[in-house]
Assembly symmetry: C2
Homo-oligomer: 463 residues x 2
């Protein structure tokens, strides 16, 4: 005290902002203090673009559109028939644009497998040569209104779900989920993988399509996600409830349209034995929800967040054609027996479209049981959701979390809030083996890399 007083030889006139305790300390030393109510800035500092566009209003409109979306599953069709612009040599992949040379192992493996499945190559070696020679056109799924989990490969013959956002009329696409383990999307190839893909094309697809055709106005995916979030799913890496609810929604139609009970049972069982079946539907729903937010000038919320296993890329609703990328991150995972961190490919897949649309890891507070799949504790799951509110512009109106007293999930990752807080989005994800041809090795959690958010924020500052 005596020392401190020596530093104050003249009367002190202070203005104290925030915590009153500082003012009291000063007063105790005889200083005149004016106390000002203040707390650290929560509202982002950047309120307008350089061109004077109101960013808050733009983001409010983006989140309003996402909240207003009504994604419904209308049916399925082969990618080449239903995805506009798809052609026989087009291979769509997860994440931002990438050339064959820079593709990671599992994405290459899935491309090789897809080319064999398509009959464009006789074996995986020939497929790799074909890809390397530029005989195939690669493009991100996101450039074609589509999303793909993990490697995210969509080849022309693959049947894809068609989801319409009936509030805006836009369509989104995703393949049927193959299950876990040695599957194409984790980079596996080989006879077992092709046999499953062919069965999905020849049996699963037409049977589901006939059922869906008979359901007037399709299946309300927003309702299924909303219910599943009340049933322990976060609809990214836990989809047991979503898969159950999808089966409840489609089965009566399946029974009525499939006269062969054995066939209907085989289709039902394929889905029933794969708790992740709903993932691709939740992803397509998320994509359908997000696209109407794209192209709102001045909006700093993310409309895309996706990884190709090499790069992590984001796009902003206010500048939707531009990718901001950074190296894909390392996953903190739980591994399948016989595998470890040394086998893991970096973070991969379009499934972060779920977090972008306000669920997935952002809704983990409602999915404590996921700790057994992706690691961590139920407390971490709760903490994840609470932290993500810090970097989101809004809260979801239709997706709520009972454990948080029915609070809406964090919606609309705002690149300004990420930049200001230094809090990066949290994700959960499956883990693919880094070599082509092997498949799934685990699942885990991580944060999005900082660099692409920093680059996006710098771009916003120049808007």
């Amino acid at each position: 005290m005596a020392e401190k007083s020596n530093l104050l030889p003249r009367p002190l006139y202070a203005i104290n902002a925030g915590l009153d305790a500082f003012a009291q300390s000063l007063r105790a030393q005889g200083a005149a203090v004016t106390q000002v109510d203040w707390s650290p800035p929560r509202v982002p500092k950047l309120h307008h673009t350089g061109q004077g566009i109101d960013i808050e209003a733009a983001n409010a409109e983006a989140c309003r559109r996402i909240n207003a979306g009504r994604p419904r599953l209308l049916g399925l069709g082969p990618a080449r028939q239903v995805i506009p612009g798809c052609h026989d040599r087009l291979i769509l992949h997860a994440g931002p644009p990438i050339a064959w040379e820079r593709m990671c192992g599992p994405q290459r493996g899935a491309v090789m497998g897809a080319l064999v499945y398509e009959g464009l190559a006789e074996d995986e070696e020939q497929a790799a040569a074909l890809a390397a020679e530029g005989e195939v056109e690669f493009a991100p799924c996101h450039h074609y209104h589509a999303v793909g989990p993990m490697a995210g490969i969509i080849s022309p013959s693959m049947p894809v779900f068609v989801v319409e956002n009936q509030a805006y009329g836009n369509l989104a696409y995703a393949t049927q989920n193959e299950g876990l383990g040695r599957v194409l999307r984790y980079g596996a190839y080989g006879p077992g993988v092709y046999e499953r893909l062919r069965w999905m094309e020849e049996m699963l697809y037409p049977t589901l399509q006939a059922a869906l055709e008979s359901i007037e106005d399709g299946i309300d995916l927003r309702a299924l996600i909303s219910q599943a979030l009340h049933m322990g799913d976060e609809c990214h890496n836990r989809n047991r409830a979503g898969t159950s609810l999808f089966l409840r929604a489609i089965t009566p139609a399946l029974m009525r349209t499939c006269p062969d009970g054995q066939r209907a049972a085989a289709v039902f069982e394929f889905i029933e034995k794969n708790d992740h079946f709903f993932l691709n539907l939740s992803m397509a729903a998320a994509k359908a929800l997000l696209e109407p937010a794209e192209g709102i000038p001045g909006s700093t919320v993310l409309s895309v967040m996706a990884r190709n296993g090499t790069d992590f890329g984001i796009r902003l609703a206010g500048e939707p054609e531009r990718w901001f990328t950074a190296p894909a991150g390392v996953v903190d995972g739980l591994y399948l027996p016989g595998f470890g961190a040394e086998d893991a490919n970096p973070d991969i897949g379009d499934s972060t479209v779920t977090e972008t649309a306000g669920f997935g890891a952002f809704a983990m507070a409602g999915a404590p049981a996921i700790a057994r799949f992706v690691g961590g504790s139920p407390e971490d799951a709760l903490e994840t959701t609470l932290e993500m509110y810090e970097i989101c512009f809004a809260e979801h109106e239709h997706f709520t979390l009972p454990a948080l007293d029915f609070r809406g999930t964090p919606l609309g990752i705002d690149v300004r809030l990420v930049a200001e807080s230094g809090i990066r989005p949290r994700l959960n994800t499956g883990i693919a083996h880094k070599e082509p041809g092997i498949g799934m090795v685990g699942a885990g959690v991580l944060r999005a890399p900082a660099a692409c958010f920093e680059a996006a924020f710098r771009a916003v500052q120049r808007w």
Copy 2:
């Protein structure tokens, strides 16, 4: 301090038990203190019966048997064929024994409806006369290894599920769930009620039975409950996940054994449209789990807790033939439009068999969304489970709660702990209209009445 010292004119020699702070205070005043480690009694004081039986060991054995149980759904059959001792004039009801004269409105209504459904009476008036004249034998479901939700009426023609506890070979029974609203178990009667019951007898039962017959070793109900508890159900008043998982388990067999797709679809849809369908299965499973614990001398855990809408009754594993009863409680409820507390019958039904077996309200920490059905907040749901640990002897090994870091649910209501703590079991429940013939009016929560626990504890003191 000076005053206090005046009260201690002579040297003080103190022994302090528990909180060290008291000892420090005394020492500060110059007193000699011996500190003894101690905390308030958690272990019940009554460790042995008057005959010297080790109560702790007996309760450990009771809970071991409940934990070891493996209830599987094997099939269905008409009550008169599959329930031993059932005959054409026997009407089983929920709760402890009761004569027609003391039956509450909804239980009378359900009896009247059941007699018309059976063809024993032409109309409800005649049915009431028949019942009043003693032409019908009434007995608790619990006396016949059965359980019935709400009024809990089982009449001879009703198909019942047959559940075997494969660890012990004992069987348990429950009817098929009718749905909510104007249904027999809520005391409603009339053409719509009978039409539904006949459809359940002629269509639902044989179709499900054919499917179940084709499933080797039946359906593992413990696994379904265990999963449902990770999916937001508590398997008493929230059964959306359990119903979904039951449909997942039975549908392939249903498709293979029912050649008529329209019929299969109608059966599937009846279950799909009733999220409470699984309740009767979770109740039969609970009954099958609890019976092997009955007859363990000295066990003070409950093997039965049931209400008939007039009386609330409990039975102890150590004296399983004896009912201890008290007046049924008033439910704190949420009401359907047009109804209020003045319409409500007191607490009714055997569904408290779920709490007795360690789930239901005792697992509400895992079912925060139930607040929208039975009232209260997600925090109350958490608090309910945490409090119930105080009066339970053990924790379940197979039923766990992710939100509590996968802690086992509170298992084995110990009448000693209830008596010592004054904490009464918490329940959640549907609410029936107090008049016969009307049906459901709401759902809510309450605590079991104290008097039957006090009576049971007094009996234990005389063992």
